[in-house]
Symmetry: C2
Subunit: 266 residues, 2 copies
Amino acid sequence: MKLTPEQLRAFDDEGYVFLPGCFSEEEIALLRIEAENILKPDRQEIWREKSGAPRTAFAAHTFSEVFRLLAHHPRLVEPLRQLFGEDVYVHQFKINAKAAFEGDVWQWHQDYGTWARDDGMPEPRAMNIAVFLDEVMPINGPLMIIPKSHKHGTLAAGHDELTTSYPLWTLDKETVTRLCADGGIVAPTGKPGSALMFHGNIVHASPPNITPYPRKIVYLTLCAVSNHITKFTRPEWIAHRDFTPIVPVADDALAAWGRAHRVAAE
Amino acid sequence: MKLTPEQLRAFDDEGYVFLPGCFSEEEIALLRIEAENILKPDRQEIWREKSGAPRTAFAAHTFSEVFRLLAHHPRLVEPLRQLFGEDVYVHQFKINAKAAFEGDVWQWHQDYGTWARDDGMPEPRAMNIAVFLDEVMPINGPLMIIPKSHKHGTLAAGHDELTTSYPLWTLDKETVTRLCADGGIVAPTGKPGSALMFHGNIVHASPPNITPYPRKIVYLTLCAVSNHITKFTRPEWIAHRDFTPIVPVADDALAAWGRAHRVAAE
């Protein structure tokens, strides 16, 4: 899958591209069930909210076959190879749970701010592709992004270790207000299987989820191979140190796994 | 202003009626400026978030002329006299600030649950009319309501004194999930001046506001005079003890005050 010239222009201008229906219901059902199983047990890769509800699962692509297929999926990998003009590797892989009633806030931040400060990533030549595992609605803690904010470079940030269980380099209110004056805030919503690519310097946040509707999103972070990280301050399962270029799987790999799995289970 | 037969039927079925454009921009501008001034100083009627930002101002209609006019406004009073079939009095008057970046959650609750338990109000023959002073958007902590939840009577609740600075009788996750299975959640959004009437037993909540956009709403609670409260456990400025029937002001009273005020200021 390649981005169209219009999508490339939109990405340059706005800093994001939204791709509804990127994965089928059948493909997403596999991932959602697997994510729910992954988020249950206590293991070091699963971070929890202060309430105990799951917040983030790291590195599921290293211990789950269906998430390995997702991290190597051509619908996610190809557009980023196209944008960066070179091979990419997996810098980070998260399932953010935003659990029903319990999912807590992610304060306003830029991802590249953390990758630069904590991981020594040279340039913002890495980015997230978010894949919706549940329906993202305006009411269940959607991802909010500030269009055009990627044009401001890496902004000054403070290290927030108090608000939530996850330490984050966050922006102050004055900066966020100034950035919003330009293009406001958008909160892309849509069915499970929708995908959202956004520039590493796009400022984003998400509010708590107070509804009965969980809002799981996978964040696959792909980095240009030549731009690999240079500092190893975080565990390997948070900021990966294997810079091997991704070789994409077949486009129907998830569906084929699903069929094989069902056959095997009968 | 009278509700139409369609609006009355919608209220019976769904538990709420949304009235966009109930007040003009000119009328709302007066109220918004006054609200911002009221929320600034420290006084006992102003409750604050844990962060110090204003959360709720009580009883502004007792010390602000423009809010006195709002509490006596025929566009709010007449529909409730029509619904209850008798005169009404002001049971409570709140300006909920939901401040930019700081406005905190209101957990799922029924207002009548508090009025019954804390104030000894005999029946759910009182209700809120919410008047939007700012634009209410999906992103800035909108009021969320569960349609049809008023048909379940007064539900079991626990007294939450921990989550926020304001004690509230809140519903548990199982109850909210069960109620949502019926008709989901709606979050009416709209321009300043929109109004929302909702039954005293409608289950509602609002998430924190993490955006730069404040979301001030006035909640005018009117109670049928024959249904006045019988227990006085809360301060008079939270649960009023003056059961005098409201005599509505003229429909143009706010606009006239605005004109007179501008003339006087010149």
